[in-house]
Symmetry: C2
Subunit: 349 residues, 2 copies
């Protein structure tokens, strides 16, 4: 009689942060791929591009000019989705047509004056500069009392809708707590009230014992493929210390975070020898909203590639209508990533 | 003083079927698009392709041969995600690492023997044949008492992960109710218990009065852009009668559904004069799970295109990490679709 094995049999796994399940079909990568093949990311960008609105000294679409910045640099998004002066209002027709106005502030952060680099190619000092600007922005944006949540993220690669290859991220700060963060708040709160301990701290303990899904750890951070990962090579960076947001990190932790970011993005690039596309972002406690002792800072990486630099995972019919679904197991993905060199393939001899 | 307008100001809208919100940024389409441009769908397929595993008489990858079918035709997916003989089992480590085996049956439905056609190009009789096979499969799959939900869907276009352009859809039937369907069951049940009326029936009444988001209606079905649509040209087909699944449709309703499918997919193709990609699928009551008087059959269409045949909406960083977000309003999208001819652009003189 066959017994149930996570490595072999179709199953579902529970996401402790959202309360939702993901379907895992480990046997499914055997199917041949006859579908869409993506173009590989171009790899020949100049250090400076006169047509780029992010390069130092260049004109932006609102007519202003970037300073001749030498580290990372942030400014208000010229095409912000959320605006500060949105009139307050509501609609509610029979509880069935409900809408509420939403205001906010959207920022763009250029990670480097260099047009041709990406996060894994920055030095640890340059990465520390990016972390400093995230912290400064977080502090400043939370000064606005109408701001309830600050989403820091990066879309990397044109396959992830990134419209400019200059290394940059974004921050969307807004007047309510977005859906995905609300789910994580709820689940962390439930666990905290029940156990008087952090959900992610307790989870980390098990992962650090089992080690199957750990990609690496350093003094202050753990990179792992979560048990419930949806994207093929999805990972999380979790701080070992239970802190509620990025402003609480010590200098030592900031240096560890720079190191972890460099290492994780290098492993990613090395996996398929390509500039690895992803959307990544931090999840942290809502702001101007009382204490959140349940909240444990972490960062999600959602990369779309499945089989190679040109074949991605499509989250489509079944996934959109029914349930998130993945083909390789999280354990397999973690092993693949662990196996990569932490020297970037472009600089390997 | 400016007053809040849904057509102008950033806001969020409530999805009555899932209980989640979507962010709407109506002013945002003004930004220039410098990002990824998709290849247009090829448009020169032969009527019969000897290399296609779906064409009549051809070999499949499991070694079997398709019959010389002349209408629509279904068979077990050679690369099924869900299998019937999965051993039953569970894992639970401290409530934090939870998994359960999942079994099911996956089917492929070829919509037509013709390799070169798509749904809007089929005749009403041929579409009625597709509906008949959906009904027959639904009935047959629900005979298996371990099956709890049957997801009927179509991924159309390689941009939606469809790996074979031969017109076809899929059915994934499985041993538990998937996440998205669970959400809709919950919300419909809440409404039904409170009001003794159907959530979607009550919603339809308001939409048919307001007419702003209606794309068209016929005797038995309404096509509309839901108030809370996420994808730019997302629509729903809703039956006017409160029925819980596709097996309950009368002959008259089946003919109306064929008509509605042909019209909606024709409007889509005409919008950007391209074979319009989407993932579409029915939502209906779970099976082998008691009565579900709250459940109202409907079909969602999730198309990715935003601005043209080659520029899609990317659901990436902010959307994955924080909140679904759309750029054009549902009212604008409905007006655009309403405006299209219902004669397919390929056959227009
Ligand atoms: O089953 P197919 O057509 O090979 O695959 C397609 O649809 C599936 C169900 O939505 C997805 O999981 C795959 O990512 C997609 O490529
Ligand atoms: O803001 P950008 O980089 O122009 O746009 C990109 O990121 C946004 C936030 O995730 C998405 O809404 C867009 O679809 C995507 O193209």
């Amino acid at each position: 009689e066959d017994t149930f094995k996570l490595s072999e049999h179709p199953h579902k796994r529970y996401n402790i942060l959202t309360g939702e399940w993901v379907l895992v079909a480990p046997h499914r990568t055997k199917r041949p791929w006859q579908g869409k093949v993506e173009a590989e990311a171009a790899n020949n960008r100049p250090e400076y591009d006169p047509a780029c609105y992010l390069c130092p000294g260049n004109k932006r679409s609102d007519g202003s000019q970037n300073p001749a910045y030498t580290k990372s640099y942030s400014f208000i998004n010229d095409f912000s989705s959320l605006l500060q002066d949105t009139p307050v209002g509501k609609t509610d027709i029979g509880g069935l047509l409900k809408a509420e106005s939403q205001s906010g502030i959207c920022k763009v952060i250029s990670f480097s004056p260099r047009h041709d680099l990406t996060l894994p190619e920055l030095s640890l000092e340059e990465l520390a500069g990016v972390i400093d600007i995230w912290i400064a922005e977080y502090r400043e944006l939370s000064q606005h009392s109408f701001i309830k949540y600050i989403q820091i993220f990066e879309n990397k690669g044109d396959i992830m809708g990134c419209s400019n290859p200059h290394p940059h991220g974004q921050i969307w700060a807004q007047s309510s707590v977005p859906v995905e963060v609300e789910k994580e708040t709820l689940k962390q709160k439930e666990h905290y009230l029940k156990n008087r301990s952090g959900l992610l701290a307790d989870y980390l303990k098990i992962e650090l014992e089992q080690r199957e899904r750990i990609v690496f750890e350093n003094n202050d951070f753990v990179a792992l493929v979560p048990f419930w990962a949806i994207w093929p090579y999805e990972t999380m960076l979790i701080s070992k210390r239970h802190v509620k947001d990025v402003t609480e990190f010590t200098n030592h932790e900031k240096a560890s975070l720079a190191e972890a970011l460099k290492k994780l993005t290098t492993l990613y690039d090395n996996l398929f020898k390509t500039s690895f596309p992803y959307s990544a972002g931090m999840h942290q406690a809502p702001v101007n909203d009382g204490e959140h002792p349940e909240w444990h800072w972490h960062m999600h990486f959602y990369p779309p590639l499945l089989r190679s630099a040109t074949v991605k995972k499509f989250m489509v019919g079944y996934e959109l209508l029914a349930n998130a679904q993945r083909d390789i197991t999280p354990e397999f993905a973690a092993a693949q990533l662990r196996q990569q060199s932490d020297i970037h393939y472009k600089t390997q001899a």
